[in-house]
Symmetry: C2
Subunit: 86 residues, 2 copies
Amino acid sequence: MTNDKKTRVSVDIYGQTYNMVGSESSSYMRQVASVVDGKMKEISDRNAALDTAKIAVLAAVNSVHENIQLQDEIKQLKIELRKMKG
Amino acid sequence: MTNDKKTRVSVDIYGQTYNMVGSESSSYMRQVASVVDGKMKEISDRNAALDTAKIAVLAAVNSVHENIQLQDEIKQLKIELRKMKG
């Protein structure tokens, strides 16, 4: 195996270990994992009866919702920029 | 029970029904659910051995990664706008 410049990092998300491979830095990948871990803990704190799969699905739902909001914000900022550039 | 203006919608994500409650429209909530469902199907297509919880965690990881990229883009657009406003 040659060094293919991929970052390999082992992260813990909600008590489970994941071996992640990516082109980003290991600290970035740990940051992403830590955000997901935090979201899952927050959801399980509010809904003690949920199993891990549902908690993870709700964490994904929450992230996708944020995603759509951010995309809207980008759209607005681009409109504003275009107006200023005349 | 009084009508409290919350939207209640039943969505299907990766073969499981979720009763979602939120302040957004039901079509928006369905859109979010459909994005999560699509991400999970894509991940399971690439990794047949993963269980639902892991697929959902990876969908959340993917979304949080996208979120961080979008937040970076917003930061850059705001810097650009600030420069133009002088």
